[in-house]
């Protein structure tokens, strides 16, 4: 039988680096989009069979069920230390960590800063959704001033809870990192740019450049108590001014 479908050219399919699995992510969540971008880049660079990833503790803890690659599951915040230990033992393999803002900017900030300061040769994908998704929407280090969360019910008060951490800008004060960029997955246009940055970070790592870091502004409709549409609008309106997009640090010669 020669159906029309069989004759049609396939122009879109699941990246090889992703499994055929239903994720547990909420509708409109940025994790799923970012997973796909990372997987596409892994495919395009032909590194699915060599790359080793480190999953965080957070909503993306089960990402090894979605990626068809070798992976560690870290404890909360320690992914950079695990990636360091692994990469030092296997400098020939590409390595990345994937971490949320509670994981990376609160409990794991020491591991993050020191891996960056040492110029560890792995890539970090940092999901900034301005809240603790997994535990029910508590205040994160990246929660905006005035933003309501489960543990800042009247809005983050800078008098008592301080100010959000701009992780890219902070890491950019260090000498060792080679690439630091902030992107967003709030619209198709930004998704394309996000993929470019993720690809650049991995390519630099493959060329032996030290520490590469991509922060992804990512909607969490569930814990923001919004519809997916409201969430991306809120993100662009409120997070863009606080967290400007673009390359904060990049090697002069580029990729």
């Amino acid at each position: 039988m020669n159906t029309e479908a069989q004759e049609m050219e396939r122009i879109f399919e699941r990246p090889r680096a992703l499994r055929s699995a239903t994720t547990h992510y909420c509708p409109g969540c940025g994790h799923g989009i970012t997973h796909r971008l990372v997987a596409e880049v892994i495919d395009e660079l032909g590194i699915r069979e060599t790359i080793v990833g480190v999953a965080p503790v957070g909503c993306s803890v089960l990402m090894y069920n979605y990626f068809d690659i070798d992976m560690f599951e870290a404890s909360h915040g320690r992914a950079p230390a695990i990636a360091t230990g692994f990469k030092r033992a296997r400098p020939d393999l590409p390595v990345f960590t994937y971490q949320g803002d509670g994981d990376l900017a609160a409990i794991g900030i020491a591991e993050t800063i020191h891996a960056a300061a040492r110029g560890e040769k792995f890539t970090t994908i940092f999901i900034n959704n301005a809240t603790y998704g997994m535990t029910g929407g508590q205040m994160a280090p990246t929660t905006l001033v005035g933003q309501k969360t489960a543990t800042s019910p009247t809005g983050r008060n800078c008098e008592t809870a301080g100010y959000p951490i701009k992780v890219c800008e902070m890491l950019a004060t260090l000498d060792a990192p080679s690439y630091i960029a902030r992107v967003s997955v709030s619209s198709a246009k930004h998704v394309l740019k996000a993929k470019q940055a993720i690809s650049k970070a991995f390519q630099l790592q493959l060329k032996g450049f030290p520490y590469t870091f991509v922060e992804v502004l990512s909607p969490c409709p569930t814990d923001w108590h919004m519809t997916p549409q409201e969430a991306v609008e809120w993100l662009e309106e409120n997070m863009f001014p606080q967290y400007p997009l673009g390359e904060v640090k990049a090697p002069k010669e580029g990729v």
Partner: protein
């Protein structure tokens, strides 16, 4: 065999390298600094990596990462630093990653002091981190034994896929003694590390993880770990019995204190008191049977520790009501003199005579 004059810390470091350890991650703390300071020079000679981490938490998770690659890896610290490592130790035990962890104990709790102690026995043998897990715990008493046990520790870790702790104290770490190194290769019958992360080329993806959200799966995982601990208890218990055959009083002690006890036993025997020593070499698995077997044959057992009574609980557990188990301990960094032990034993024998 060539004899070298080394501290216990250096002997452990050299033995680790000879056992094939190529990765060391640690954070400075007294009294074990000779280990990292030896490793930083020695590991590059054999193509290995030394890395001073930002904390003990980071260093134990660097161990997790390197062990996950299938490499032989070690970290070392002393009491406050080992407390900080507990999170990672629990994860390593859960993920069944082989590695060697050295604790050169100092007095606690809190910042405590920097002098020798044995007050981390509970932490080492009963858990320390969260969950139902155990380390394999080795307690050397001499520099030579520290080297020998460290060589073996890496094989034990690989065989059982379990973290192994070498539990020493400041005396063992700092003391210099002649030591020779057996020419030892990893045992031939160790299981292949098919679980290691190497990139998924040519096989299904591997995952090193500890999360099991389904209670029945998590219970099964725990039962599997328990099977392993039972196997260790069956196959790996090590204990030294010294002059126990005719002993009326047996001293129970490990590590540095066991050495001092031997001197005390000599002095006691010169005074006509028949004393002996049971020295656990593996603290986990503990030699319960050895104690249970000798208990009916002796009048009393005196447990001596540089703590206020930790191993004594295991001795009591082993002995039950078969004989009286007494305790003598010094702590805070004070090493008991052999004369003190002699006096304690004499007190007990005086009561026996009455």
């Amino acid at each position: 065999m060539e004899k070298l004059f080394m501290t216990g810390n250096e002997a452990i470091a050299e033995a680790a390298v000879r056992a094939g350890c190529r990765y060391y991650f640690g954070y400075p703390i007294t009294p074990q600094n000779e280990i990292p300071e030896y490793m930083v020079k020695r590991l590059p000679e054999v193509g290995g990596v030394f890395l001073q981490a930002e904390s003990e938490i980071a260093s134990i998770f660097m161990v997790y990462g390197a062990a996950g690659s299938g490499a032989r890896v070690m970290t070392s610290s002393a009491s406050p630093g080992i407390s900080l490592k507990q999170e990672g130790i629990s994860y390593i035990a859960a993920a069944e990653l082989p590695c060697v962890i050295v604790n050169m104990m100092r007095g606690g709790p809190g910042l405590g002091g920097i002098q020798p102690s044995q007050s981390d026995y509970f932490q080492a043998t009963k858990g320390g981190g969260h969950g139902d897990y155990h380390l394999f715990v080795l307690a050397p008493a001499t520099v030579q034994e520290a080297a020998d046990l460290c060589l073996e520790a890496f094989d034990i870790a690989d065989r059982y896929r379990n973290p192994v702790m070498i539990l020493g104290d400041g005396v063992l770490g700092q003391m210099m003694e002649p030591v020779s190194f057996q020419d030892r290769r990893p045992a031939a019958d160790l299981p292949e590390k098919t679980w290691a992360l190497t990139g998924t080329k040519g096989r299904a993806a591997n995952v090193v993880k500890t999360l099991n959200l389904d209670p029945s799966v998590l219970e099964k995982h725990n039962l599997k770990l328990q099977e392993k601990y039972k196997r260790m208890a069956k196959e790996e218990v090590r204990v030294e019995c010294y002059q126990v055959d005719d002993a009326e009083i047996v001293i129970a002690a490990y590590g540095t204190v066991a050495r001092i006890a031997k001197t005390a036993i000599q002095a006691l025997r010169e005074k006509g008191i028949k004393a002996g020593l049971v020295r656990p070499i593996t603290l986990y698995p503990f030699p319960y049977k050895t104690f249970a077997d000798i208990a009916p044959k002796v009048r009393k057992i005196l447990t001596v520790e540089m703590s206020l009574g930790q191993m004594v609980e295991d001795v009591r557990l082993a002995v039950g009501d078969k004989t009286e188990v007494c305790f003598f301990g010094r702590c805070g960094g004070i090493v008991p003199g052999y004369e003190e032990i002699v006096v304690e034993v004499e007190k007990l024998t005086a009561k026996v005579a009455r």
